[in-house]
């Protein structure tokens, strides 16, 4: 992450913020899960995830046909703290998304990183 302004630009869009917070809450989510949870079309979600990846807020990992995104553990501590505080105090902002996610059938299973 370049500077705090760039960091906050990443959080300053509804789609991106919802994705980030959902991922922070669930550890790891794939694109189709996010697409379902926030009820937006896939290219839109994908485009925003690409931006978060480019700014190094997220890391991705391919597993079969799916790509899972997670918070970049190399983020500076203050940035992690900002995300954590936002998540902890804004559950109402995410309820609908969490409901959609939980009602989703056929969620892809996570495999361990290594076997």
């Amino acid at each position: 992450m370049k500077n705090p302004v760039q960091f906050y630009k990443c959080l300053a869009d509804e789609t991106r913020l919802r994705c980030l917070l959902l991922i922070a809450q669930e550890e790891e989510l794939c694109v189709c899960e996010l697409t379902q949870a926030i009820d937006e079309i896939q290219p839109k979600v994908s485009r925003h995830l690409a931006q978060l990846r480019k700014c190094e807020l997220l890391l991705d990992r391919r597993q079969g046909q799916w790509v899972f995104y997670r918070i970049n553990p190399a983020l500076p501590d203050w940035a992690k703290a900002v995300l954590a505080a936002t998540l902890a105090s804004n559950q109402p902002f995410l309820v609908k998304n969490m409901n959609r996610l939980n009602k989703m059938g056929d969620r892809p299973a996570r495999a361990q990183a290594c076997c």
Copy 2:
């Protein structure tokens, strides 16, 4: 503040973020001090401060010819925590501004709110 997205939109501009952090650090600053500190023209600073006021991140108080801005104490705790964490870990982002501010002559004296 309406929602976390609006809050982060407020932080997602260099001029606004610098103003906010400088104010958080100094308790209270007037427009001409901010204009000096961040080295931008007055209408630009004023416009961004107006936006932060409108979103209820800042409160203002007129004292004579000056208008002093301070962080709104009614901000939700998580938002205050976000600002505090950002300030604490991004001093390098502000050094030039702090230097300019400290070298500024004729800074208006703060009067107490009441006598």
